[in-house]
Structures are given as structure tokens and as C-alpha cells.
């Protein structure tokens, strides 16, 4: 019987090596595998390259605080990313800034075996510097290359022993695409359910993409209500 479940987050991060590239899903406070973030901090791997949409304290602060991150590839390290910002400003952490849709496409290219994509996003901006510009059918595009990771850590609502995942609300965000692009993919889920309980048409991430599933309570960092003014 296939059983991809693990009994602890520590097991899920055990093999992350120094210098590894690690993806974390999540957008705002939703869909962030917060317990895996903590477990990775405790595990101790250093010089990590993190790929994540943002770097908010609620999501990733433990790794920045512990000085584990060498580089961040992200689209929006927002003003609430205090831990990242401090280390970026003192030169401890590098930043590769990628437009959000390009970040998605690069990860998708990595997970789907494509060698690259041409996107119109960013043409003529400073984020196009050093990138190939190509005119196709009269319009300019940038060549963007795939992103893959040694480990992808994602968060879902339900998971089963086969690795099938189901999200709720806006949890899918980067989790679905990152689940395709990690050499090892571990999912933190709120509840492990028996195989077959997620209807086939409601499996958002099929188990083929998932190596490990671990059940964990939502991290308290990610339960706090955001301040007024952060609303959109």
C-alpha cells in the first residue's frame, strides 16, 4: 500500500541540504506551510535559495531570523517583510525580483519540462535588463527560463496517503504550480483523509506530484487577523 504520510514536519524537511533551492507556497497568510517553515529552521540547513511570492514575516520570518537564507526569488517582498528587508539591506540576502505572472510561468515551465517561455511582461522595464527580447508577430517578448527547486513545500486543506491534495479558499495560489516543480515535494495539510475520500474531480493536485504528506495544525503566526489597511 502506498503511504506518503509522515508523522512529523521534521521528517518532511530532514533531507534539505545546505545550499538547497526551496519553494514555499502561499499568498498573504493563506496557503503557507508555516509548520514546515519552522521545521526547516529547526533542521538547520543554511545558504538556502527561497522561491516564494513574498517574504512576509508571518510566512518566512523564522528562516530569515535564523540567517538561513542566501537568496530570495520573489515578486513582492512587501513592507511587512521586516525580517527579509533588514537582511537584504545589510547585504546578507540577495533578491531576484520577478513579476508575479512570470514567476508562475517560470515555475510552471520548470515543472512541465519546457525550456523557456516568451512573455510580454516586463518588456521595456528595468526587470528586462540582461534578458533576450524577441519580436514575435509584431510584439516584443522576453525570454524567461524555467525555475525548479530541490524541495517544494506546499500547503493544502486535505491530503491522503496517495498524495492527492485538495485546497480551500484561496489556498491554491502558488501551491498548485510549485507542487509540479520540486524534486521532492512535501505537503502540509490540515487533515489527512482516507484515500478515495477526495472526489476524483476535486483533487486539485494529483498524488503523482507529491512525495510526502504531513498533517499539522495551522501555525498561529498565520491565524492572526491582518491590520486594517492591509485590505484590498
Amino acid at each position: 500500500m502506498i503511504d506518503k504520510t509522515l508523522s512529523s514536519c521534521a521528517q518532511a524537511v530532514a533531507h534539505v541540504h545546505d545550499g538547497a533551492t526551496v519553494m514555499f507556497g502561499g499568498f498573504g497568510s493563506v496557503g503557507v506551510p508555516g509548520r514546515l517553515v519552522d521545521a526547516l529552521r529547526d533542521q538547520g540547513a543554511r545558504d538556502l535559495t527561497i522561491i516564494s511570492n513574498g517574504a512576509s514575516d508571518a510566512a518566512l520570518s523564522p528562516l530569515f531570523e535564523a540567517g538561513r537564507v542566501k537568496k530570495l526569488i520573489a515578486s513582492f517582498p512587501s513592507p511587512t517583510s521586516h525580517q527579509f528587508r533588514a537582511r537584504y539591506l545589510n547585504g546578507e540576502v540577495q533578491l531576484e525580483l520577478v513579476p508575479q505572472g512570470t514567476l508562475v510561468e517560470r515555475i510552471r515551465a520548470g515543472g512541465s519540462g519546457l525550456g523557456g517561455i516568451y512573455t510580454p511582461t516586463g518588456v521595456g522595464t528595468e526587470l528586462a535588463e540582461g534578458k533576450e527580447v524577441r519580436v514575435i508577430d509584431g510584439r516584443e517578448y522576453l525570454l524567461e527560463l524555467p525555475l525548479k527547486a530541490d524541495f517544494a513545500f506546499v500547503k493544502a486543506h486535505l491530503g491522503d496517503r496517495l498524495g492527492n491534495l485538495m485546497y480551500r479558499g484561496t489556498m491554491r495560489n502558488f501551491n498548485m504550480v510549485m507542487a509540479t516543480a520540486g524534486s521532492v515535494v512535501a505537503a502540509e495539510v490540515e487533515r489527512i483523509v482516507p484515500a478515495g475520500e477526495i472526489p476524483p474531480e476535486q483533487v486539485h493536485t494529483p498524488g503523482i506530484f507529491i512525495d510526502h504528506v504531513v498533517q499539522a495544525e495551522r501555525h498561529p503566526r498565520l491565524v492572526e487577523l491582518p491590520k486594517e489597511g492591509a485590505q484590498a
Partner: protein, 230 residues
């Protein structure tokens, strides 16, 4: 007389039509949601994966798994759809979103705009701005006409780092509505108490005056009590 931030949002809302799919950026644009005609169905898109964003939740119907692009909790309207980042950016970059209403630091007379990075900003962040910038069918900019130092924000050439080139269709400010046409800027509406010459003086690029250029018609307060002009 000039519009408040709510006033600009109120005025933009008047130009949206039933059946449109609209993405609202941070700042003035998100206020547009408060002034949409409740009798018209307009679907708000949120880049993290929602089509049909509803109002902020009350404490009792708050769902911890449901946030919109600004990271705040939200609700869904009837008929909403939820999806992942791939599908969301297909909508944005692929020309499916009808309007992106965005704040800006500067807009150039050729439709270039800058809204993601202030010169000298220490830590940059871009999010989905450039994807919307190239992909939305119509880019409407909402901003003050001049900086708080009185410098024009509508300019011949942007000096701040660009978001996208030649994409702005219309600019809504606290003083005027300006269209970006193929051959330059066209002044369409002006706040009462300002002459077209006053607006030109506060604008860094030449304005043509539309044949039907008129005074902006915005009430003093919105039905929710917010002050729209001052």
C-alpha cells in the same frame, strides 16, 4: 475644487459597465469597489485567485482561507470562481480582464506608466503590476494630478522605473480626466473652479481639449457619507 480619493474612485465607478471584469490595484483603486452600482454586475478579479471578490467579511463570517490581492480577508459574491495563480495570470496577461485600475507615480503622454518602484526605494516589489500592465484590455490610472510637492505626475517621459509601455488609456485625477490617444493627451473633464489652462499648468505634457470637454459632475458626498470633493 478637487476630488478626494473617494471622489476619484466614485467617478471611475461611473465609467464601469455591467459584465466587465475589473482588477483594482492598491490605493485609490480599491476604493472603487465601494462605489459600484449595485444594480450592475461587475466582477472584481483578485490576482491571488478570485473572480467575484465581495466586501470585507464581518467577524462572524470571516474565512481564514480567503484573502484578496491586498492580503486582507474578503468574501465572495454569488457566482464567484476560485482558482490558482496560473489561471489567474492567464486572465491578466491574456487580455481577459476588461479593466485594470491602477495607481501610478507617473504617466507619460504616450501611455507609458510607472507604478511599482519609487526612485531610491530600498526594497523593490513588483507583484502582478507588470502583468496587468501588459495584459488588461484597458488600463485606467487613478492618482493625484500632482505630487505633494506640486510636481506634475502626467509627464512627457516617465523618470520613475516603468511598469509597462504605451498602455494607459485614461487617467483619473483629483482635478481632471485625461485620455491617452494615439496622438497625445486629451482633456475630457475638469473639476469645477479649474480652467483648462489651470489643468495644463499642472500637467507636464501638452493637452488637447476635447470638443466635448466638460465640468466633472460629482456630488459632495457619496450615499455612504464619504466626502467626494473638497
Amino acid at each position: 475644487m478637487m476630488l478626494t480619493r473617494d471622489g476619484i474612485a466614485w467617478r471611475i465607478a461611473r465609467d464601469l459597465r455591467e459584465g466587465q471584469y475589473v482588477n483594482l490595484g492598491v490605493g485609490i483603486p480599491v476604493l472603487v469597489a465601494n462605489y459600484l452600482d449595485p444594480d450592475q454586475e461587475i466582477f472584481l478579479h483578485s490576482e491571488n485567485g478570485i473572480l467575484g471578490v465581495g466586501p470585507k467579511p464581518k467577524r462572524e463570517n470571516l474565512d481564514l482561507d480567503l484573502v484578496s490581492a491586498g492580503k486582507g480577508f474578503c468574501t465572495l459574491v454569488s457566482g464567484a470562481a476560485i482558482f490558482d495563480q496560473q489561471q489567474s495570470f492567464i486572465m491578466m496577461r491574456g487580455g481577459h480582464v476588461t479593466h485594470a485600475i491602477l495607481g501610478a507615480i507617473e504617466v507619460a503622454e504616450n501611455g507609458d506608466f510607472a507604478n511599482w518602484r519609487v526612485h531610491g526605494e530600498a526594497v523593490p516589489g513588483v507583484g502582478g503590476a507588470m502583468d496587468l500592465g501588459v495584459g488588461a484590455q484597458n488600463i485606467f490610472v487613478a492618482m493625484s494630478h500632482v505630487t505633494n510637492k506640486g510636481k506634475p505626475k502626467i509627464v512627457k517621459t516617465c523618470s520613475a522605473p516603468l511598469t509597462a509601455r504605451r498602455r494607459v488609456k485614461r487617467i483619473y485625477t483629483d482635478l481632471a480626466i485625461v485620455d491617452v490617444a494615439d496622438d497625445g493627451l486629451v482633456l475630457r473633464e475638469v473639476m469645477p473652479g479649474n480652467s483648462t489652462a489651470d489643468i495644463q499648468a499642472k500637467t507636464g505634457a501638452p493637452l488637447k481639449i476635447a470638443l466635448d470637454c466638460r465640468e466633472m459632475d460629482v456630488p459632495e458626498t457619496a450615499s455612504n457619507g464619504a466626502r467626494l470633493r473638497q
